[in-house]
Symmetry: C2
Subunit: 164 residues, 2 copies
């Protein structure tokens, strides 16, 4: 075991924790934005709640916490390129990403039409922890595309996982 891991040791360990890839989106008085996040997990089903960890130094952080209404779009196997756009790796401006015909126009926050799962809810609580905020999202609506593959990030690479 490596005691008192430095940032590199810790990040290496975290890179080996496989995780879903999600685009967290919002719209509202603070504006519209979206970021790729992997730290999402289920907390409780009463009331249905998920948590999302967001870096507080990101410009989007205050937009999410100000608007409060968000969507967790859990990505399918085909969404690797989209994950890169929303991770900021491709320099495509935010406004252009939301102009693509991939969003459900009738929803109050950007809902990715062919995501594996969409989870729309409201941030009810928030806890600061070091560099990040843990946002607790009470879930108001969900949609699942049963049978679709999922996108998983593991060992600093995207993997496609079939549902069967």
């Amino acid at each position: 075991m490596t005691a008192n891991p430095d940032r590199t040791d810790f990040r290496e360990a975290m890179a080996h924790l496989p995780a879903a890839v999600n685009i967290l989106t919002t719209d509202g008085p603070g504006g519209r934005c979206g970021i790729t996040v992997s730290a999402v997990c289920s907390v409780t089903d009463d009331p249905p709640t998920v948590l999302v960890c967001v870096n507080r130094s990101s410009a989007s952080h205050d937009i999410f916490s100000g608007n409060r209404r968000v969507c967790v779009n859990v990505l399918g196997g085909r969404h690797e390129e989209l994950a890169m756009h929303f991770a900021g790796a491709t320099k495509v401006p935010m406004v252009e990403r939301f102009a693509w015909d991939i969003w459900d126009p009738q929803e109050p926050v950007p809902v990715l039409r062919d995501a594996l799962v969409n989870i729309v809810g409201t941030i009810r609580d928030r806890k600061s922890m070091g560099s990040h905020s843990v946002m607790f999202v009470e879930v108001e609506s969900v949609r699942v595309r049963t049978g679709d593959s999922s996108l998983v990030y593991f060992n600093r690479r995207f993997h496609r996982l079939e549902s069967q």
Copy 2:
């Protein structure tokens, strides 16, 4: 979208969020125990912290929160059967599971010798949320078996994900 999802709708959505499979273990004044958990994620690297969600109605919950020293053993592709044992699906008594020669004898908490990742730390904070506690674990030591496959739970099945 399904508005106001009931427990079944919410669980169906969560079943489609792929996640690492981990055995959370502890030892100390409250006793020794371990449970299979999927809700683990990285929070911040300063100080290095992960979170784990544990059902408060589980008998193990108070043992973890009392002992505070824990290990998150992130499972490799070969550990499906072990995940079932620690999920309580096989009725093998806890004492028998810890008698198997799969644990590092020199560690203060049960560290699975050939886990993909071992994360030893102390619960520094805890937040109750519905049925569950979110436990914030400050990381004291880590170990990674680079190149190993990982075990992922998705669509109510185990999947083996190769590292390349």
